[in-house]
Subunit: 65 residues, 2 copies
């Protein structure tokens, strides 16, 4: 299986936001993270990098538009 | 393995940009796609949705900022 872990860069460190993520939707208000085991969660962030081998998604706080 | 296929939405259809993608970096000019088997390729696009179960990333053309 290919679920991912999503990390938010915060104060120079990476904080895990959600694991077992099966899908991410990019929305105006941020990223909607969907998981097998938790309720969907929206993070006010933008994707920085996806690593499909390490199953990691790196997110930074969303810049005001 | 968890490589993904990246599709660009173009004229209402989805066009495959790259397969066996192992990583995506979000850059000011677009998305840098990295694959096992091809040279990295930068697409002037933004991520719309990632589906980790279907191993699909959907991209739309980048809006001028």
């Amino acid at each position: 299986m290919c679920q991912a872990r999503v990390f938010l860069i915060k104060d120079g460190t990476e904080e895990e936001v959600m694991k077992d993520v099966i899908g991410i939707e990019v929305r105006p208000e941020g990223l909607k993270l969907k998981s097998f085991f938790e309720e969907p969660k929206t993070v006010a962030g933008e994707i920085v990098e996806i690593d499909f081998l390490k199953h990691r998604v790196l997110v930074k706080p969303k810049e005001p538009s």
